[in-house]
């Protein structure tokens, strides 16, 4: 029980990932598939951010006054900023993928007149 509760962030991201995956496979509408892909990618972002958190830590900004010397800090007092930085890049990638996917959906609608996967496959038979 403690195993589940103490690592609840991992369970949440796995649940979200599987929800997104199911949407990509199970839904017939193409827009819903894209939303599933988005949920899938967002769950990975959630995983990274959750690994960056520390108990009782504060924002990773070190304030220097003018002329103050650079001093060492205890890393345990600050939240790990690297996963946040990586996830900014990943969010940009996610948004670009979403944009390309929506462009595809516009073209598919123009070419086929429908956005349901089974109707598109039927038109291709």
């Amino acid at each position: 029980m403690e195993f589940i509760i103490s690592k609840y962030n991992y369970w949440v991201y796995i649940a979200l990932m599987m929800i997104g995956f199911y949407a990509m496979i199970g839904k017939k509408n193409l827009v819903k598939k894209i939303v599933g892909l988005n949920i899938f990618q967002t769950s990975i972002i959630l995983y990274f951010i959750s690994t960056a958190a520390k108990k009782g830590a504060t924002i990773p900004i070190i304030a220097h006054g003018n002329g103050e010397a650079i001093h060492a800090v205890h890393a345990a007092q600050y939240v790990n900023p690297l996963p946040h930085v990586l996830m900014l890049t990943a969010i940009v990638v996610m948004v670009s993928t979403f944009g390309v996917a929506l462009a595809f959906i516009i073209r598919i609608h123009r070419a086929y007149g429908t956005l349901e996967e089974d109707e598109i496959l039927a038109k291709e038979e």
């Binding site: 995956f21 892909l37 899938f40 990975i44 690994t51 996963p83 670009s96 993928t97 595809f104």
Partner: protein, 502 residues
């Protein structure tokens, strides 16, 4: 200047891509020339980098001057230099071919900025090859993939859009699995640099997180590489893409994904992990054998020439992973040699098929009766490429298959040799079918053709800019099939370095 070559080979195509995109606001249409110049520059830079690496050892470049592991490092060693030359060569030759083909097939349809996307694709490919940082590889993997999805979507038939959409969904899942694996590695070691990871991982080899990270990145990159069970997007995507995009997709994009898999397997998870801790050899040799035979079987069933070539790519990626699964020096050498051989030959096959489609608008193989007499140069290119793919001696395909077979025998896995033989025979069957229809059948509907039409001065061959690029590539495969020591020496050094011999 030469210290900046690792970054220049990525940045110049990137900048040219944005320049081309801005040029579209004016009325000047120098996109083709700009892209030819940029890919030629990248090709020269990659040759110079390979030369530097062969003489003085691996070259590295630190972005922003930050020392690794805090900064991103670009590391060019033997395998990276080799892959870079292959990728930029195919990119340059394809961009020369692109002038007429893009005008005919894509034109100004829907305002598609073809050359801008193409330059982005080349920049992404070069970036994956030179980078030494795991997350940077993910970024460039996504740059490559997004450009590839968009380029597939401008294909000739309506179905190309659905093919591009499928590719997008599956490719994004693959890249996300890779990102998850990077995340798992990061939380256990705290670093993203490949060399640093290789030093920190041995202490935690028995951790379950590392095992899952390995499984995740293998799954993710297998999707990108179209390794047999996860190949379903490839026949549609590569077969329906425009004629000028299919060569780059089949010869470069999936090969660079295979390169990324090999790089992470051997440089990050060292051979000690993948061969001793995990039974990678046994599992991968079974999977690669299934991929080789399965890819050839589905290629047998195709009636469309580009889909057949695309399914053939599925089988050929099996060869590459077979070399990894064999695991000794000769096997890895054969694997890298096959990366070289498959890139050159598959690109020239797709370019030749594109010339056939450009001239005759025929996609089905059975309708290509007697095309060998009407377009002899293009069909000659296709024939030599087909022989190279089968593995006839004096082509690079033979050299790579020979090395794989010898490596398998050295490792004691004799049962791989009949698999290679069977795959070569299947290749001979489906390529032979095309060659027979093209050269030996006559086209009854159009009457007597051949010498009569050519004597009348009626040009039936396509123009030089469409004939020369595939011919150059396929003649390179013959030249390096005879003078095999040139690429083999580089491949052997690369294999030695990855196995940790230096």
């Amino acid at each position: 200047m030469t210290e900046q070559f690792p970054i220049l080979v990525v940045i110049i195509p990137l900048l040219i891509s944005f320049t081309i995109f801005l040029f579209r606001l004016t009325r000047y249409r120098y996109e083709w020339h700009l892209s030819m110049a940029a890919t030629f520059f990248s090709f020269l830079v990659s040759l110079s980098l390979l030369n530097t690496v062969l003489q003085t050892g691996p070259a590295s470049y630190r972005l922003g001057g930050w020392a690794p592991p805090w900064g991103i490092e670009y590391k060019v060693d033997y395998l990276s230099g080799f892959m870079l030359v292959i990728v930029t060569l195919v990119a340059f030759v394809t961009s020369v071919y692109a002038g007429k083909s893009v005008k005919e097939e894509i034109g100004e349809k829907g305002g598609v900025p073809f050359y801008a996307l193409y330059m982005l694709l080349v920049a992404g490919l070069c970036g994956i090859v030179v980078t030494g940082d795991m997350f940077n590889l993910y970024v460039f993997l996504e740059i490559t993939s997004l450009s590839a999805y968009a380029l597939v979507g401008v294909g000739y038939k309506r179905r190309a859009i659905v093919a591009g959409f499928n590719y997008l969904i599956l490719g994004s899942v693959g890249a996300c699995l890779y990102l998850l694996s990077v995340g798992y590695l990061y939380i256990m070691t705290g670093t993203l640099n490949m060399a640093d990871l290789a030093q920190r991982l041995p202490a935690i080899y028995d951790s379950r997180v590392i095992l899952v990270a390995f499984a995740l990145f293998m799954a993710g990159l297998s999707i990108k590489m179209a390794f047999f069970p996860l190949h379903a997007w490839l026949p549609d995507a590569h077969g329906l893409a425009p004629s000028v995009v299919s060569p780059i997709l089949s010869a470069c994009v999936i090969e660079v994904a295979a390169y990324a898999m090999i790089r992470v397997m051997f440089t990050v998870f060292t051979p000690a992990f993948i061969f001793e801790v995990l039974p990678v050899r046994e599992v991968l040799s079974l999977a690669a054998s299934i991929a080789m035979i399965g890819g050839s079987i589905i290629a047998l069933a195709q009636t469309d020439i580009k889909r057949m070539l695309a399914c053939s790519s599925v089988g050929q990626m099996g060869y590459v992973i077979l070399g990894v699964a064999i695991g000794n020096h000769t096997g890895l050498t054969g694997s890298f040699m096959h990366l070289f051989s498959h890139a050159i030959i598959k690109a020239s096959l797709f370019l030749a098929a594109g010339s056939l489609i450009y001239k005759t608008q025929i996609y089905e193989i059975s309708n290509l009766k007697g095309i060998g007499r009407k377009m002899p140069l293009t069909m000659a290119t296709f024939t030599i490429g087909a022989l190279g793919m089968i593995g006839i001696p004096f082509t690079t395909g033979f050299v790579s298959e020979w090395k794989l077979a010898i490596g398998a025998l050295e490792a004691g896995k004799w049962f791989i040799v009949p698999v290679i033989l069977l795959s070569a025979l299947l290749n001979a069957v489906y390529f032979g079918r095309v060659l027979e229809i093209a050269w030996f059948k006559t086209d009854e509907l159009h009457g007597h053709e051949g010498k009569g039409e050519q004597e009348k001065g009626h040009k039936t061959e396509v123009s030089a800019s469409l004939v020369v690029p595939p011919f150059v590539l396929v003649s390179l495969s013959i030249i390096f099939g005879i003078a095999a020591f040139v690429p083999l020496s580089i491949a052997e050094k690369a294999a030695g370095m990855l196995l940790g011999w230096q």
